[in-house]
């Protein structure tokens, strides 16, 4: 199975340790690009290498898959999109993204259809879930990407001293 593929003028590919350290730092090194998950930003290259190593291990166990999205021509990475918590018994997974400011809703609308097709058709998953911090930067985006709002889960984690509610969205293979 080929996990790398092109979608229009973009390329979705698995990350490469050693080559993608700077790109990953540009995505995961800025707190405002992570507040929707939420998680703390990475601060140095050791953390980036550790993140890359964990991405590889989780992919090898098929519990997660991570794609870096870049322009076909300029090869500038502008997004990491992943499926995590893959549950092969329930045929479900959680979608997560980290985006640079250059990645707009229009860009995601161009990238996601092929990615979703791969997830539902090639991987055979049925339910893809997206959890965003309530009131995050990306509120309103899931619906425009074809996801349905399912509710808000209260106080799912504590982040920087505050209880965080997560809005849940889903897209089904049959939608």
């Amino acid at each position: 199975m080929n996990w790398n593929f092109s979608t229009g003028v973009f390329q979705c590919r698995l990350p490469v340790a050693g080559d993608d350290n700077n790109a990953l730092l540009s995505l995961l090194g800025k707190q405002n690009q992570l507040n929707h998950i939420p998680r703390l930003a990475l601060e140095n290259m050791d953390q980036v290498e550790d993140e890359l190593r964990r991405m590889v291990m989780r992919f090898e166990n098929r519990e997660a898959a991570f794609w870096l999205i870049e322009g076909q021509y300029d090869q500038q990475v502008f997004a990491r999109i992943s499926i995590q918590k893959i549950n092969w018994m329930m045929l479900s997974a959680q979608l997560q993204w980290e985006l640079t400011p250059e990645c707009t809703l229009d860009t995601l609308q161009a990238v996601l259809p092929d990615l979703l097709s791969f997830i539902f058709t090639e991987l055979g998953l049925h339910r893809l879930e997206l959890r965003l911090v309530k009131g995050s930067l990306y509120e309103g985006w899931p619906e425009q990407l074809g996801f349905s709002a399912e509710g808000v889960l209260p106080q799912q984690q504590e982040f920087e001293g505050k209880d965080v509610d997560l809005a849940v969205y889903s897209r089904l293979a049959t939608d």
Partner: protein, 202 residues
């Protein structure tokens, strides 16, 4: 060491899964309440279930009780997806048709009260799967649970068949524990034979 206590409630009690209840637990799993769940074929699987229930409680990953009502084991109360550092857990109570709503509710309340008191958990989720006993959502409401989300097709019942999960939450108003230094409490993990030293002298 004990990890799962007996908890009495009006009309019954919660008790840890024990080998002496193997036959009753096996009978329970012949009438699974969960949509899509197949009856257990082999009674020896209950032994494995009991072992796992001890291991889960010992490592704060989950907790399981048998629900005893009027002297008979007629249900199982499970706590799973236990996130100790996030102070939350997911619950589900599965029972035989003879388990009354009153006793199911009392069993859930006894477990919640214990988990608040012993482990300071604050966020209790409950997953009700479409097709389960229709009275459970109303029963959860009486316990302070609110329906927060309906997770479409999140429960697989067949090859390509699915059911919705209705997720409820109850948030305890108890104060969060204050972080302390290791050793401030003489409370070695979850050993129920030891108690927290509230005296402040060590």
């Amino acid at each position: 060491m004990r990890f799962t206590p007996e908890l009495p409630f009006d009309g019954g009690r919660l008790k840890p899964l024990q080998s002496e209840d193997t036959a009753a637990l096996f009978a329970l799993y012949q009438q699974p309440e969960l949509p899509g769940q197949k009856p257990l074929q082999d009674e020896s699987q209950i032994g494995r279930l009991i072992d796992l229930s001890v291991q889960m409680a010992a490592t704060q990953r989950g907790i399981m009780w048998a629900i005893e009502s009027d002297g008979e084991v007629c249900g199982i109360l499970s706590g799973f997806d236990w996130q100790a550092s996030q102070l939350r857990i997911m619950l589900r109570a599965d029972g035989l048709p003879v388990l009354s709503d009153e006793h199911r509710a009392a069993a859930i309340k006894a477990a919640v009260d214990f988990l608040i008191e012993k482990y300071h958990l604050r966020n209790f989720g409950y997953q009700w799967v479409s097709g389960q006993n229709e009275s459970i959502p109303g029963l959860l409401g009486t316990l302070g649970f609110e329906r927060c989300a309906v997770l479409r097709d999140a429960w697989r019942t067949g090859d390509r068949e699915f059911a919705d999960i209705h997720q409820f939450h109850f948030i305890s108003t108890a104060e969060k524990p204050q972080p302390k230094k290791l050793g401030d409490d003489d409370n070695p993990g979850q050993n129920l034979d030891r108690d927290v030293n509230h005296g402040g002298t060590h």
